[in-house]
């Protein structure tokens, strides 16, 4: 196709137009707004698909498209352009974002049917799509930062969408604040790039890494890692993701599972040249990934809230991706591959969770589910396929991508390789455990349904869903607009991995952008695969022993020390509270004290003395013309004396 690059801007423009129309359009659009939003998301997907097939039609070296829209900040040497770059990496993201995004738009039509602010919800969703597409299509770091902040804003708006719930408002604020820390990292990284390279366009920056000192590259890399930690909920900036589940479930599926949280993986993969030249920063990436994958998995084991369990799992799976990205050219392709497959099955799992909540009076506590497979067959099957995919059941999507990451981790070599590989393997086992737990507690076992809570005492009930206090739930299958996206995502969960792995299709597709080296694990690939499956079976077995064969208590038992810690998100909030909040408070208080005593003391003292002086001077103004005349005479004398003195005569 001629001039295919001219279509790139349309990818962003379509959802942006939707956001503008829906957010500015007013009440008139209430009835049709959600259709408009969905159609524009779908339009973006269609454009993406057209560009994709066009890209396939060209040789591997000619696949990168560029579109220069306009000069954004032209100030002498500081040149920022609004320009797009569509290569294989961006294309992968475009298809994931618009594809999953469109499905979730469709799902939301049903899910948000009763919400009176549905138009606004679709406006925010479109805004998110536009920002996320801008993020992955930008051809320079500054424009990427623009999109980065845009998705942060959309995420904030959507987490706090039910802002009347204090928990949602707090969660939105928390997500925003924690993300700011990461954003600082990105902005510092961009500033460092500008001072080092004199530009922040991908091409020149990534080409110039060879001639730059490793120290500077390490600094840039660590700042980029900090940014990625914020957006992708990696330790130590992971604390916001669990709370972000306060947002509507489609938001959790799209933004906080499939797309936005993977922006950190994109950033690191895109900046691969920097990390390749800065091994220390790269190792830090891998370590952060490994720590988070265990952290998230452990948290996921202890949560009774289905969405929070899935959030822990998201954290853990992104940990895998970050770990892979931290392995360098050996892992980039697998990080992205796992990202895509995860996008399918995690979005599907979240939509399934939303469907379950929809049928259960919006109950989120899995201890109050049980035996739902008969009542919600479509949800059960799609959720089940997603479950099998995420634990890495041989043949399904997750198996192909996760197994490669574990292999690559072992291939790192030396002690590091053994540790990282071991952690990844252990993570696979824990994943199998907690996902089996979710599955068993939700769909198997006896019914543990509880009467609907009083919405006044339990304000977590999503609005628009009619809940009659004391009424038992009547689980039912969700409407078609919700089940169809789940079915489509289930297809992705099952087949995507195998499809990608056919002849290394995905790796070859990305190779021009990310480089690729075959890893050579110390043990054979087959051994790794077999041990992965064994670990998986152990995890499933333990979960079955605990939750399948024994009845599940409705009230959570006290649990071990680790369980209790994990329920509290491994004390991350306590840590933040004690170290950051408390520390910050102490700092502020001492500053306030200093301000009160020292600064105010000086200020007030000055004010008092000025005031006193004023009062005394005022007395000179006694109202007598004679005194005034004397003042003038004296003043004149001084004036003359001073003038003469200046001359020295």
């Amino acid at each position: 196709m001629e001039n295919a690059e001219n279509l790139i801007a349309l990818l962003v423009a379509a959802p942006l137009l939707g956001a503008a129309v829906l957010l500015c359009g007013g009440r008139r659009l209430d009835r049709a707004g959600h259709w408009l939003g969905t159609v524009l998301a779908a339009a973006s997907f269609v454009i993406g698909a057209v560009l994709f097939f066009d890209m396939l039609g060209r040789g591997a070296e000619e696949r990168t498209l560029r579109q220069h829209l306009f000069s954004w900040v032209p100030v002498e040497s500081f040149q920022a352009d609004v320009a797009f770059q569509l290569d294989q990496l961006s294309m992968t993201f475009v298809l994931l974002i618009t594809g999953v995004g469109t499905l979730i738009h469709v799902y939301s039509i049903g899910y948000m049917a009763h919400d009176e602010r549905r138009r606004r919800f679709f406006g925010y969703l479109n805004l998110f799509l536009a920002a996320m597409l801008l993020l992955v299509l930008a051809d320079n770091y500054l424009l990427l930062y623009f999109g980065w902040e845009g998705v942060g804003l959309a995420s904030f708006l959507l987490i706090g969408f039910w802002q009347h719930k204090p928990s949602a408002a707090t969660a939105a604020k928390k997500a925003f604040l924690v993300n700011r820390v990461g954003d600082m990292g990105l902005s510092i990284a961009i500033m460092l790039m500008f001072t080092t390279f004199g530009t922040f366009a991908f091409g020149p920056v990534l080409a110039a890494t060879g001639e730059t000192s490793e120290g500077m590259l390490t600094a840039i890399g660590l700042m980029l890692l900090l940014a990625a930690c914020g957006k992708s909920a990696q330790v130590p900036l992971q604390s916001w993701l669990g709370d972000a589940m306060e947002g509507p479930t489609p938001v959790s599926a799209l933004i906080h599972a499939a797309t936005m949280v993977t922006a950190g993986v994109y950033l690191i993969t895109r900046s691969g040249a920097i990390f390749n030249a800065a091994p220390d920063a790269q190792l830090a990436v891998a370590v952060v990934g490994a720590v988070t994958l265990l952290f998230g998995a452990i948290v996921g084991c202890a949560k009774d809230d289905i969405k929070k369990a899935l959030a822990g799992s998201t954290m853990s799976q992104i940990g895998y991706m970050i770990l892979a990205a931290g392995l360098g050219p050996v892992g980039y392709a697998f990080a992205i591959m796992h990202l895509v497959t995860h996008g399918f099955f995690k979005a599907g799992l979240f939509l399934g969770a939303g469907s379950v909540m929809h049928g259960m009076n919006d109950e989120v506590d899995m201890r109050k589910y049980g035996g739902l497979r008969k009542y919600m067959p479509v949800t059960f099957v799609t959720f089940g396929l997603g479950y099998l995919a995420i634990i890495g059941f041989p043949g399904l999507s997750g198996f192909w991508s996760k197994d490669k990451i574990i292999e690559a981790a072992f291939a790192k070599g030396g002690t590091e390789g053994w540790i990282l590989g071991g952690v990844a393997l252990l993570g696979a086992g824990i994943t199998a455990y907690y996902m089996t737990r979710v599955m068993l507690m939700t769909f198997f076992g006896e019914k543990r349904w509880q009467p609907a809570p009083d919405p006044d005492t339990a304000p977590s009930v999503e609005p628009g869903i009619e809940v009659h206090p004391g009424e038992m739930p009547h689980p039912h299958e969700s409407p078609r607009s919700m089940t169809i996206p789940m079915i489509l995502l289930a297809f992705g969960s099952v087949f995507a991995g195998a499809l990608f792995s056919l002849n290394g299709a995905f790796v070859n597709w990305l190779r021009p952008v990310t480089d690729f080296e075959h890893g050579h694990p110390p043990v054979s690939a087959a051994t790794v695969t077999v041990s992965t499956v064994v670990v998986l079976l152990i995890g499933v077995g333990i979960a079955y022993a605990q939750y399948g064969r024994r009845p599940v208590p409705v009230v959570a038992p006290r649990g071990s020390l680790l369980t209790r810690a994990a329920r509290r998100d491994l004390l991350q909030d306590d840590f933040n509270h004690i170290v950051l909040v408390r520390g910050g408070e102490h700092l502020t208080r001492s500053l306030v004290y200093l301000d009160h005593t020292l600064v105010d003391g000086v200020v007030n003292g000055t004010a008092a003395s000025v005031g006193g002086l004023s009062g005394r001077l005022r007395k000179l103004q006694n109202g007598f013309a004679r005194s005034y005349a004397v003042s003038m005479l004296g003043g004149t004398a001084v004036l003359i004396a001073a003038t003469l003195l200046m001359r020295g005569v």
Partner: protein, 552 residues
């Protein structure tokens, strides 16, 4: 009678019979002097109106005449400026008495516009309820009547008004137009007297608090005469030094470019002591008019006692005229003496800025507060004067224009806040004004913020320009003092805002009169100019910059 005596007589005759130099008729450039001539002519006509127009019609005739005269004079100024008399054709007119150049035209334009805006507050007759069926303004029914006497009561009952204020104002404006344009010391002195005397009178004619008004007038007159005497003495000494009162001639002598000594003045001419004392005395006369410390003590009493419309007019226009004259004197006559006058003026500027700001803190009367504020502002402008650079001139010109409109507007607002005794000027009565009359309080807050020099108001642009010029002119320390004074001054401006908006209104508080379109025009123009010069000052800064060159 001897024969020898005859030739003597004859020679006397012949000497006398020789052709003498005729006294040439003075050449007057009427066109260049048109603004002044229009205003003074209208003032004379105004006096005639007082004599011949029936009492009932006088008010309308006088207001009409005054507004038309001021507008026509302003048009003449604009015409002159457009005709290039401010730049390429700038020159000396009226046999060397008057300079027509950029600064003169800019200052005249400012004075005329400010007066035009102020005259509406003079003409306001809606603030008080009608009295015996007559509308009344801010001025005494019969100024000559003893306060509280039967004669006064009769005049009030008859509905008299002092319409003489309009021609008096025109005379004052006429003098002010000449003052900054005066090109010799005698013209300077005459202009000073021409604008001072009507102002003394105007201060005395308040309708309410008449004793206070008369006391203010007497004080102003006494101290004004006192300072005039100093000024005149200074002029005499300068004549003794240079043998001339002409600015150009004195400047030449100061420069040393005139070597020939006038034999009649051989004893004194070129004596630097005369020069320095003369300069100090002349400057003192001007510093009195701009209300610089320690020659400021009349200001609070006069500002408080005078009728508020007069205070606004006087505070704005006098300052413009006096600073204009001071700039011309220092930049045209005494640039060669800069090393002598700058340190002295430094000291004056410092004590003026600090003194005005500090004493203002403890004021409880809004008019006295504004008086001290005007003293502090005089200090800020002195900082620009001291820069002794073209930027210094243009920044002071800009500051004067900005300050005049803020001042007139602020005093116009003061006329609106009233209780049974007339204007409620005690600050305690302004508490909670923002709750009762949010618009009036908001407008006043704009003026206060402009006084304080908050960005987006003309006060900020002016202060910035002046301080920038001062810093570039090598007076950075003065700028530091200026900023400190601004900080002190901000306290009492903001305090009034806090008082208006964050205090509970008092039950017995004042009412806010609904003014006629006249005062609304004054306040509206004041706010508009304040914001315009604050948001987009560049055009006017450029205008002042182009006008910043004196002829010599």
């Amino acid at each position: 009678m001897t024969a020898s005596a005859v030739p003597v007589v004859h020679s006397l005759w012949t000497t006398a019979a020789e052709p003498v130099d005729k006294i040439g008729a003075p050449t007057i450039e009427y066109a260049q002097l048109a603004p002044t001539l229009i205003v003074v002519g209208a003032a004379v006509v105004g006096i005639l109106l007082e004599a011949f127009v029936p009492r009932r019609a006088r008010y309308y005739a006088q207001v009409f005449l005054t507004v038309v005269a001021l507008a026509a004079a302003f048009a003449a100024v604009v015409g002159l400026a457009a005709g290039g008399y401010g730049s390429t054709k700038a020159g000396i007119a009226a046999m060397g008495a008057i300079a027509v150049d950029g600064p003169a035209l800019f200052l005249q334009g400012t004075i005329l516009l400010a007066s035009l805006v102020a005259v509406f507050t003079f003409a306001e007759r809606r603030l008080d309820p009608a009295h015996h069926g007559y509308r009344i303004d801010s001025f005494a029914a019969e100024a000559a009547a003893v306060p509280g006497s039967d004669q006064e009561k009769a005049a009030v009952k008859a509905g008299f008004t002092t319409t003489e204020v309009f021609p008096l104002m025109l005379f004052a404006v006429g003098g002010m137009l000449v003052f900054p344009a005066a090109n010799d010391l005698l013209t300077l002195f005459i202009a000073l007297e021409v604008f001072s005397l009507p102002l003394y009178l105007l201060c005395a004619v308040a309708r309410r608090k008449r004793l206070m008004s008369q006391e203010a007038a007497v004080k102003y007159f006494l101290l004004g005469s006192f300072s005039s005497a100093f000024l005149l003495f200074g002029i005499a000494l300068l004549y003794g030094y240079a043998g001339s009162v002409s600015y150009a001639r004195i400047a030449d002598v100061v420069d040393g470019s005139v070597a020939a000594i006038d034999p009649a003045l051989a004893a004194t001419m070129g004596n630097d002591v005369l020069l320095l004392i003369g300069v100090a005395l002349v400057l003192m006369g001007l510093l009195f008019k701009v209300a610089a410390v320690p020659f400021h003590m009349w200001t609070p009493d006069v500002y408080q006692g005078a009728p508020t419309p007069v205070t606004g007019f006087m505070a704005a226009a006098t300052k413009v005229a006096a600073f204009g004259a001071m700039l011309r004197l220092l930049y045209v006559v005494l640039p060669g003496l800069a090393w002598d006058w700058r340190p002295v003026m430094w000291g004056v500027a410092v004590v003026t800025m600090l003194g005005g700001a500090i004493v203002a803190i403890t004021q409880t009367d809004i008019k006295r507060l504004l008086a001290y504020s005007s003293i502090a502002h005089a200090g800020f402008m002195l900082a620009g004067v001291i820069a002794a650079t073209p930027d210094g001139v243009s920044s002071v010109l800009f500051y004067l224009a900005a300050y005049s409109f803020v001042t007139i507007g602020a005093f116009a607002v003061v006329t609106l806040v009233r209780d049974a005794g007339g204007e409620a000027t005690h600050l305690s009565k302004w508490a909670g004004l923002g709750r009762r009359s949010p618009l009036v309080a908001a407008v006043f807050a704009v003026f206060l913020l402009a006084f304080a020099g908050i960005p987006l108001t003309s006060g900020f642009a002016g202060k910035f320009a002046v301080f920038k010029a001062a810093a570039e002119g090598g007076a950075a320390a003065l700028v530091v003092v200026g900023v400190i004074s601004s900080a002190i001054a901000a306290f009492f401006y903001i305090r009034v805002i806090v008082l208006m908006f964050f205090s509970e209104p008092k039950p017995e508080g004042p009412t806010v009169a609904v003014p006629s379109p006249l005062t609304m025009t004054t306040i509206g123009v004041g706010v508009a100019v304040t914001l315009l010069l604050g948001v987009a000052p560049q055009y006017f800064l450029d205008l002042a910059g182009q006008a910043g060159v004196f002829v010599r």
